[in-house]
């Protein structure tokens, strides 16, 4: 039986849609991933297999072929663990076959079936929004990072059993609250210019640099300048509690 699950991969900062096609057929037991996977994706075979078993589900001894389309682009990372597992579970009938066209899955699986964080969630969500995707199922640890994107529903999940019950309609996972952007949150900085005595010309230069985003080169003229800096060192020591 064939199932298709969607995910998004990254090329630099740019995301692109990847279809994870899983086919399970009779034949010699095997598990193949094709579509130019790198080592970390090839290793996901073992993670997916073990995670499904340890989630007290059966991993069928059949011939399983996973294709990551577009098959001509090289893919990397552990981001496809979750969509591959979901694809297998749909193909074996554990998850009821409902249309998942508007859903993206991302996440890394650990051997006990829990879902771990991945890199690059924000650019993925931005691409999902651009493609008109309605829902993203993502690791709980990444949910806060993603929720700045308001147009897409973010569903945080923590393990494989939870997501199976969610997709089968047994439980409802509340979507992550969206985060509002505020430009100036707080102004507590470690060092303040009020601690600097004199040197008005340098302060002025740095003010101009900050205002216009200009580059700046500071040339030290004398050794006493170094002494001034060293008066600040106790701050470094009091900052940590040994």
């Amino acid at each position: 039986m064939l199932s298709i699950v969607k995910s998004i991969a990254l090329h630099g900062l740019q995301g692109y849609l990847v279809n994870i096609q899983v086919d399970i057929s009779a034949g010699m037991p095997a598990f193949e991933i094709v579509g130019l996977p790198d080592t970390s994706i090839r290793e996901s075979k073992e993670r997916v297999k073990t995670a499904i078993r340890n989630s007290t589900l059966e991993f069928l001894s059949r011939r399983i072929v996973v294709n990551l389309a577009p098959a001509s682009t090289k893919k990397e990372g552990s981001i496809f663990d979750l969509p591959i597992a979901i694809g297998i579970l749909i193909a074996t009938g554990v998850i009821s076959d409902k249309p998942l066209d508007n859903t993206i899955f991302i996440g890394e699986l650990s051997l006990d079936g829990s879902i771990g964080s991945v890199k690059g969630v924000l650019p993925i969500c931005i691409e999902a929004k651009r493609l008109g995707i309605k829902r993203i199922i993502l690791p709980k640890a990444n949910a806060k990072e993603a929720c700045i994107i308001k147009e897409v529903e973010m569903i945080p999940v923590s393990d494989l059993n939870e997501i199976i019950s969610y997709l089968n309609g047994d439980i409802i996972i509340p979507k992550e609250k969206t985060l509002e952007f505020t430009s100036n949150i707080n102004s507590d900085y470690e060092f303040d210019f009020s601690e600097v005595k004199g040197q008005e010309n340098v302060k002025r230069a740095l003010e101009i640099a900050a205002a216009g985003g200009h580059n700046c080169l500071l040339i030290r003229k004398s050794w006493l300048w170094e002494n001034n800096a060293s008066t600040q060192t106790p701050l470094y020591f009091t900052r940590f509690n040994f």
């Binding site: 900062l13 100036n184 230069a205 700046c216 080169l217």
Partner: protein, 283 residues
């Protein structure tokens, strides 16, 4: 240190800037549940043992380097001549283009790197050259070799050169409070708002990003200012790149002054920030 205090006066981020910064931090795996979004401008200060690859980005599948992590923030290189010369030279392109394209066998990608480049250095290996308190013990060749680790093209891309003079004992003991960072930041924010409004149709955020076309549109000079610039140009032996950078800095000084046009004293201050390369590099 003065440069370490720079983050406290940087202008507030716009949403677009913050999103770009967070995207780069996201693919580098630098976000966590505690820090899910970057609200402050980044301040990166790599040690001088940094390699070219970790500075501009790279790897089999290229990852962003320090310059991209400093996008819309500050890249601070302390003790600039101590860096590997070849490491410094790779900054040339990114400083001008504000993007970096990294190509490897299976993969090629472009990362943005619109950062403020802040560097500090001593004028000679012993650190006393030009000092009035102590004799410099370096040989002339040593000084030349040290200072010329910063090449002309790199120096040309730095808009503001400034000497940090020593603070004498009386001033150190002076307890009268100096201006706080908050007050400076208010002025900086005001100047940045003027820029954001002026450039809202061009998708740029600050004067440093002005293209030649925009410079001729927004950095117009009076005949008297033109004459001053011409004299300075000939006397200081400035390059074409320095010319546009002086105009950009003058524009910022005018913005800080809330002046619509660049006045003569704005331009004069901007020129003054380019006079040091002559003192140290072209002796």
């Amino acid at each position: 240190m003065l440069a370490r205090r720079l983050p406290s006066i940087l202008p507030d981020l716009t949403f677009e800037e913050a999103l770009e910064i967070t995207k780069i931090h996201s693919i580098s795996g630098l976000l966590s549940e505690n820090v899910p979004f970057i609200f402050k401008r980044p301040f990166r200060s790599p040690h001088h043992t940094i390699t070219e690859t970790s500075l501009v980005g790279g790897g089999r599948i290229p990852k962003p380097g320090e310059i991209s992590l400093a996008h819309y923030g500050v890249l601070f290189l302390d003790e600039l001549p101590e860096f590997n010369k070849s490491t410094l030279e790779v900054l040339r392109g990114p400083l001008e283009d504000k993007t970096v394209t990294i190509s490897r066998v299976d993969f090629s990608t472009t990362y943005p790197c619109n950062f403020m480049f802040i560097a500090s250095m001593n004028p000679c290996p012993c650190g006393y050259y030009g000092s009035t308190e102590k004799q410099c013990t370096c040989k002339e060749e040593q000084i030349q070799k040290y200072i010329h680790k910063i090449s002309g093209p790199l120096l040309d891309r730095i808009d503001i050169h400034i000497e940090v003079e020593s603070v004498n004992y009386q001033k150190l003991g002076n307890t009268s409070p100096s201006e706080s960072s908050n007050e400076i930041r208010k002025r900086v924010n005001k100047a940045r708002h003027i820029q954001l409004n002026r450039y809202k149709d061009y998708h740029i955020f600050s004067n440093s990003e002005l293209t030649p076309a925009l410079i001729s549109k927004y950095c117009k000079l009076s005949p008297k200012s033109k004459q001053i610039l011409e004299t300075a140009f000939n006397r200081l032996g400035l390059s074409a790149r320095a010319y546009s950078r002086i105009l950009k800095v003058a524009r910022t000084i005018a913005d800080l002054d809330n002046s619509q046009h660049i006045q003569t004293h704005h331009l004069a201050e901007a020129i003054q920030y380019r006079s040091l390369d002559r003192k140290y590099w072209h002796r």
